[in-house]
């Protein structure tokens, strides 16, 4: 895909784009920063991501696929309680699960779009990238990651560029924490 320097430029740009967009959307202080990036094998996702989330724990996850010339996947994990607090903050106490899901989905949309924008600018590509509608669900992180591994492997995508991002959203009652994992097959 590119050199190490290209990756780092892309990541730095994407970080800035995401932080700005999420801060504007959520109307509160948001920290979105890179924890690490790694090139790994698709069948290692479980152990690599397992350093940041409990693979046997249940999370509220947001998953977005990216298709077209540029392909990839975004997976965001929020602890259940944090996701509920975030949705309640955004909806001023609205408890309709569908509306709550749509708020979280929008966070997935925004994050995907800005990460893609960052990467596309940094690697100077105009390749077409089509994000899927975000899928939000509650499940074991391990089940999602394992399914993503299988999906990548079924498409012959054996090596993956994986960037790990930490998301901290400051609410009146405390901080909501999440992690985002952006996978680009190589």
């Amino acid at each position: 895909m590119g050199t190490t320097r290209t990756f780092e430029e892309a990541l730095k740009f994407a970080q800035s784009e995401c932080q700005t967009a999420l801060t504007e959307f959520l109307g509160t202080d948001v920290e979105f920063h890179l924890v690490e990036w790694i090139v790994c094998y698709a069948d290692e996702l479980l152990s690599v991501v397992g350093q940041f989330v409990g693979v046997e724990e249940v999370y509220r996850a947001i998953v977005v696929g990216i298709y077209g010339d540029l392909q990839g996947y975004l997976v965001m994990f929020f602890p259940i309680k944090d996701a509920e607090e975030l949705a309640a903050y955004m909806l001023d106490g609205e408890s309709d699960p569908e509306i709550q899901e749509s708020v979280l989905a929008e966070i997935g949309n925004l994050t995907t779009a800005r990460l893609l924008m960052g990467f596309s600018k940094a690697i100077k590509t105009n390749e077409e990238a089509l994000p899927t509608p975000p899928q939000t669900q509650v499940d074991f992180s391990g089940s999602l990651l394992q399914s993503l591994s299988a999906l990548l492997l079924s498409q012959g995508q054996v090596k993956v560029f994986h960037s790990v991002w930490k998301l901290q959203i400051q609410l009146l009652e405390g901080t909501v924490n999440g992690t985002a994992h952006f996978f680009l097959p190589m």
Binding site: V55, S143, Q146, A150
Partner: protein, 164 residues
């Protein structure tokens, strides 16, 4: 992922934390007290270059190998449960590509074909759209299956009447 274990060590617990589209074959042979597990990722090795390095990703290689490994240690026709094959990811843009969207279903079909009546199939907990987490205790052949709500099912793979 893509691994096979066969053991008679009663201290061991074979675990898979988070199964989605993969299928895990759990086997236990009551007389020999031998347990086996295969964590299958994809249905078929046909046309795949990874066969030499990652053979047990594939149901058509992993299942016969698991059964043969157990048979070589005297565990013929073990009791068996299969878990997984869920459709956890559902991307609408690629819905027309069945080989991509139905990996779980294809995995289940291939595992059943490859088991081919060589085991006493005690349970199939497959399909759906959410995952499971499992543990198989070698000491007593009890399989614990936890769902995302935290509910745990127990399946006893050690009942001797199941042995062929």
């Amino acid at each position: 992922m893509g691994e096979i274990v066969v053991t008679g060590d009663p201290e061991m617990v074979l675990a898979v934390p988070g199964i989605g589209s993969c299928v895990v074959v759990c086997a236990f042979h009551p007389r020999t007290r031998l347990a086996g597990m295969a964590h299958i990722v994809l249905p078929s090795s046909q046309g795949r270059s990874e066969v030499s390095t990652k053979p047990f990703w594939f149901a058509d290689i992993a299942v016969p190998h698991l059964l043969e490994s157990m048979k070589m240690k005297g565990a013929i026709r073990p009791n068996c449960a299969i878990v997984g094959g869920a459709k956890v990811l559902n991307f609408s843009l690629i819905a027309t590509n069945t080989s991509v969207t139905n990996i779980g279903e294809l995995n289940v079909k291939s595992v059943l074909e490859n088991l081919n009546g060589s085991v006493n199939l005690v349970a199939q907990i497959v399909g759906g759209n959410t995952g499971f987490s499992i543990r198989l205790q070698v000491a007593d052949g009890i399989l614990f299956i936890k769902d995302k709500e935290g509910q745990i099912r127990q399946i006893n793979l050690s009942l001797p009447w199941m042995e062929g």
